[in-house]
């Protein structure tokens, strides 16, 4: 079909022949819908329920095929097969709920049971068709791993139609879905039909799953639902942006995955699409500015630096000398566990903030602003210590340790309240003596 070899660029720009372009467009739309719908499966904590659902579609596909050909119709008619898939998919979800309701088993076991047993029924059905029908399984086992490349234009149109419907429905019901996912009890009290909204949410998951099984395969379609939304979560705290980004990530995975796989010999579109989504996820996990790992470790480093610089300035203030000797800094570093690179960073930060005027072989020269800051820290320390001893009944010998954790994060409002509280009890903490500033 397309083995004549359209180039990567041609495929990327939809110029690689009608069929390939159609498939690429279809998986892009599918990815968009899966990403958008998946956001609420994730927020409602139903990611693995969706997994069970997609596995549970297999017996429906086999049964629909058998039923259709028994009635003399064309077994491999896509709408018939997908109707069967919807039927047993929903049956699987109901089975999970029945197990939870009528037995003492927990959700994890219920999902695992439905997933494996329904899939087992499907495997039996497929092998029955394979062994007993002259036309064999007629390619319906392609649903397990998906076969995007062999999709017909009508299949793609059906998939695209479902995908567009899914996106539009989610857009319309964004407000309701958000409410139920965040706080279903409140939704119920204010008169929203929570079960109905839940049902709509699940119905969209079913639709997208069923639309995706032909292209991505029923084992991996759940990945397309979960991964884009989990990845998008790293980038934003806004629900509409989350939905948008999940859609974009899903669409990008569908698009790139289909294009790349069309270049590969056996065109394993499902696997490549999921791996592309996995790549987006890994990138988000590491590099996203809002919740990514790098951003988080920078924030932690920033806090450590702030605390360390407080310690250093406090030490300088308490020694009453603007020059903190090298030996004193070494001592601090040993006690506080500062590594050499950390010390370099620390001094850099202190100079940047104007707390340190310069550092020589003799030691660190603290600026007046630095000493003032040291005085504030020292006073906070004393205040908190006093409070712990007088109000919280903590033994004086234990005080220093807990003070160290807290003194750097006190807000000005809290300090004012601390002073008021101690004043009420007739305790005043004078500004500690030291270098006058």
């Amino acid at each position: 079909m397309i083995d004549a070899g359209p180039s990567l660029v041609e495929t990327l720009t939809f110029r690689a022949g009608f069929n390939t372009s159609l498939v690429v467009a279809g998986t892009t739309l599918l990815g968009l819908a899966a990403g958008v719908v998946g956001v609420f499966a994730m927020l409602r904590k139903r990611a693995l329920m969706a997994d069970a659902l997609s596995h549970a579609t297999l017996p429906g596909i086999a049964a629909a095929f058998l039923a259709a050909s028994w009635l003399g119709a064309e077994g491999r008619s896509m709408p018939v097969l997908l109707a069967g898939a919807v039927f047993t998919g929903v049956l699987g979800v109901l089975a999970i709920q029945a197990i939870l309701r009528y037995t003492r088993l927990h959700e994890d076991a219920a999902i695992g049971i439905v997933l494996s047993v329904f899939f087992g029924v499907g495997v039996v059905g497929l092998s029955y068709i394979q062994a007993n029908r002259a036309d064999g399984s007629a390619g319906i086992d392609a649903f397990i791993y998906g076969q995007a490349a062999s999709m017909q234009p009508s299949d793609v149109r059906l998939m695209a139609g479902i995908a567009i419907f899914g996106v539009l429905a989610t857009a319309l019901l964004l407000k309701e879905f958000t409410l139920v996912a965040f706080n279903d009890a409140f939704a119920r009290v204010t008169g929203w039909p929570v079960s109905l909204i839940d049902l709509l949410m699940m119905a969209l998951v079913v639709l997208v799953t069923v639309a995706g099984i032909q292209a991505v395969g029923l084992i991996l379609v759940v990945a397309l639902l979960i991964i884009p939304s989990v990845a998008a979560r790293f980038w934003t705290e806004r629900i509409w942006l989350l939905v948008l980004l999940a859609g974009v990530f899903g669409a990008a995975s569908g698009y790139l995955g289909a294009v790349i796989s069309s270049m590969l010999p056996r065109k394993p579109a499902g696997a490549v699409i999921v791996l592309t989504a996995g790549g987006v996820f890994a990138l988000s996990l590491i590099a996203a500015p809002a919740r990514g790992v790098i951003a988080a470790s920078f924030r932690r480093l920033g806090l450590r630096l702030r605390i360390a610089s407080d310690h250093l300035l406090e030490a300088a203030f308490e020694r009453g000398d603007h020059l903190l000797s090298r030996a004193a800094v070494d001592d601090l570093a040993t006690v506080r566990g500062w590594s050499t690179p950390f010390r370099v960073l620390l001094l850099f930060r202190l100079r940047l903030a104007g707390f340190v005027a310069g550092s020589t072989k003799a030691g660190v020269s603290v600026s007046p602003a630095g000493l003032a800051r040291g005085q504030r820290v020292s006073r906070n320390h004393a205040l908190w210590e006093q409070y712990l001893i007088s109000d919280a009944d903590i033994a004086p010998s234990h005080v220093d340790w807990s003070v160290d954790q807290v003194e750097h994060v006190l807000s000005d409002e809290l300090i004012a309240r601390l002073e008021a509280r101690l004043a009420e009890r007739g305790i005043s903490v004078p500004a500690p003596a030291g270098h006058s500033s």
Binding site: L48, D108, I113, G120, V124, V274
Partner: protein, 463 residues
């Protein structure tokens, strides 16, 4: 339609059945701890995500060497657990979603690797990963009879084949040693099952505490997380030992279904393990036989045996949900019915006692029907007469002496409750009757030094 037919053929059926059985037993044993710790889906995740580990091990070792496969699977298994933890912690992602992300990406990687390997005609197939190749495990040694089964050479496989002579040329074509005794997969599975039993047997105490309360286990000095990883390694090993023969779907089913079924049968861990093993054995043998026998009723070809075993496990679970003697729906319904009957009986006796108190020992049935609703009255009367508590004579119901005692005890409980509710629970007297009405049927009984209830009625003496 004809009778189900299944002809056991040693050469064709012994090893597939044995492989299914071993896989079911090994996974079923380990599954107990997954289900108890509510991490069943970790088994699901691992059995998906060992795939890339296997394929990579295969590509490096260029053979299906069991050792390479085990290393690959164990590494993939641990990687899954570690990655799920990482994604959960670093990404603040909910456990289910974290698991979903990790295992689907790893599985996709495995599928891609297999597909690219398949291009180079390497003997790996994505389909067999799911439903295995049980049917290919037949005995290549020509076993003709049961006698041969019990000969060592048949098992070791070193059967010296008589030289095959080309009848036309008289040339010796092959003087071969059949090197096919017990299929490698079955040996691997047997080793896995032994190892799993050794693991559970040696660490039973620790596993039990860790399953019940991981925090407690840690304070007691067991390293719960090391135990967790060890369990996961065994699950990965069970997966890899099983998957070639039975496919990953049976692995997931056997990790979860037998243990879940056993949960419905008993509350004790040892008994649960025993039940789960019994269910695993029953599902694997039953499933295997059914795969051939049931289609044969319509003259059809056998279906996939691993799938059929999974279905059998599901059928057993469904049966347990319905008829388990401890937690089954039927038993619960029967107990509720019995309870309803005994409540109705109590109501009847109490009513008769009250009538007797007011000097009316014989009560027309119709008057009782106002107090105990129709159907329940019939059952209650039947029960009471069977137990010789009342007599029914010409439409008049009367208590026998035993009935009088029983009725008195019920009324005593009722009035004691009323007294308790008024005096201690601060319920207003005009309100206590209904509550006492429910409580009088239950074992706890207030111990009060009272002679009369809040309505001024005498409390009958205790027996």
């Amino acid at each position: 339609m004809s009778w189900p037919a299944f002809q056991f053929d040693v050469a064709l059926d012994l090893f597939p059945m044995l492989a299914g059985l071993l896989a079911a037993v090994g996974c079923g044993l380990l599954g107990n701890f997954l289900v108890l710790r509510r991490i069943s889906l970790m088994g699901d995740a691992i059995s998906h995500s060992v795939l890339p580990g296997l394929v990579i091990a295969f590509l490096i070792a260029t053979s299906r060497s069991p050792l390479a496969m085990f290393v690959g699977a164990a590494v993939a298994g641990i990687a899954t657990v570690v990655l799920v933890e990482l994604v959960k912690k670093l990404g603040r992602v909910e456990p289910g979603a974290a698991m979903g992300v990790v295992f689907s990406v790893l599985f996709a990687l495995g599928v891609l690797l297999i597909e690219s390997a398949a291009v180079r005609h390497v003997d790996l197939d994505a389909d067999c990963v799911l439903h295995g190749q049980l049917e290919t495990l037949f005995w290549t040694t020509p076993v003709q009879s049961w006698d041969e089964v019990f000969q060592l050479r048949t098992w070791t496989g070193y059967v010296i084949d008589p030289a095959v002579v080309n009848p036309e040329t008289g040339e010796v074509v092959r003087s071969a040693i059949y090197h096919q005794g017990v299929p490698r997969q079955v040996v691997t599975l047997a080793v896995m099952v032994l190892a799993a039993f050794a693991f559970v047997g040696l660490l039973f105490k620790e596993l039990r505490i860790a399953a019940f309360d991981p925090a407690l286990a840690t304070t007691l000095g067991f390293n719960a997380s090391a135990l967790h990883y060890a369990l996961m390694v065994f699950v990965a090993a069970a997966t890899v030992a099983s998957f070639e023969a039975v496919g990953s779907i049976l692995v997931i089913a056997m990790l979860i279904c037998p243990a879940a079924t056993a949960r419905l049968m008993t509350d004790r861990l040892l008994a649960q393990i025993a039940w789960s093993l019994a269910f695993a054995i029953a599902a694997s043998i039953g499933g295997y036989v059914a795969a051939t026998a049931i289609p044969s009723m319509w003259g059809k070809e056998p279906v996939n045996a691993a799938g059929s075993m999974t279905v059998a496990a599901g059928v057993l679970l469904t049966l347990a949900i319905v008829v388990s003697p401890k937690h089954g729906l039927v038993v619960r319904a029967i107990r509720r019915r019995r309870l309803a009957a005994s409540v109705a009986l109590d109501d009847l006796l109490a009513a008769l006692f009250r009538f007797a108190e007011q000097g009316e020992p014989k009560v027309p049935r119709a008057r009782l029907a106002q107090l105990v609703p129709g159907i329940r009255l019939d059952r209650a009367l039947g029960l009471a007469r069977k137990r010789d508590l009342v007599t029914l004579d010409d439409g008049l119901v009367a208590l026998t002496p035993t009935g009088l005692d029983t009725g008195g005890a019920i009324i005593r409980r009722h009035r004691l409750w009323e007294t308790y509710l008024v005096e201690q629970a601060g319920v207003s007297p005009d309100h206590v009757h209904e509550t006492a009405e429910r409580l009088e049927h239950l074992p706890p009984q207030p111990d009060l030094p009272a002679d009369t209830d809040p309505h001024g009625k005498a409390i009958p003496p205790g027996v």
